[in-house]
Subunit: 175 residues, 2 copies
Amino acid sequence: MLSDGDWQMLLEWTRIKQIPKGTCLIKAGELVNHAYFCSEGLFRLFYSISDGREFNVAFTLENDFATSYGAMVTGGPSNFAIQAMEDSVVIEISYETMQKLMDKSHAWERFVRRSVERLYIRKEERERELLYLNAQERYEAFLVKYPGLEKRIPQYHIASYWGISPVSLSRLLHS
Amino acid sequence: MLSDGDWQMLLEWTRIKQIPKGTCLIKAGELVNHAYFCSEGLFRLFYSISDGREFNVAFTLENDFATSYGAMVTGGPSNFAIQAMEDSVVIEISYETMQKLMDKSHAWERFVRRSVERLYIRKEERERELLYLNAQERYEAFLVKYPGLEKRIPQYHIASYWGISPVSLSRLLHS
């Protein structure tokens, strides 16, 4: 459990930012020094390949973290970008602050450990879903994982997440 | 840093197991109550699909952990199996023990946080490699990530990891 003191440290060491729709919180190729807690709005994490195609690999909704975690921890450049799909509000926390919080408090270390576990488990789930589920089942899994998101983003962003063409997704939804 | 006391707790609460080549440490569909530290040998993590095909998604070499982490943490069944590809030796640690270690020691909490980070970063890397690298580059990335592994396992297991046919991999290696 995080104590009042644990929360106090967080409030002193973070700041709130408005992120307009369309803005990239993190660009591909950039070094990453911050994580972002999404308090309002919505983000997509996506890769761009050389022929111009984009692949969404995850979404971040309210009350969840968005960052290029591997890049932040290893100090390398981000391989993907994170873009606001609505006007959004985030709490920005630097990696240095995260490390200070974890040094000072076992509870923060636990909080981060559990957050990383959640990130990891999502990747495991996506791996399983891509291997085992057909297009219809993937769409149903998407609805469960990201409740209400299908009403907030264009269908081609969902199709990109599942690696199917927008036409196939549209056919599926109207069959 | 883990103290002598931290290590002492580990030694009291774990046990060493011999795992003969071919044995599954974890089967798909099983509940998972343990993590395994591989001190000797080699494991593959793989999914089996209904037509009999198998997909390797990761390997565990010496001095690394093998488990179905998501299943262990969530209490659900494992979606994949973990099989010894050589006669192996593991240190078995129950999830209950892991939780006790983390409750008693900030240093163990940090150790687990970093281990999960490593797992997560590997998944991120694999995602990037599958999207951006051609077959030749994937093979080179494989050699860097798993040094010496190409001499210890049949080529079709490497092909399965990269989602290419054994024939394509063989052609690539002899071109």
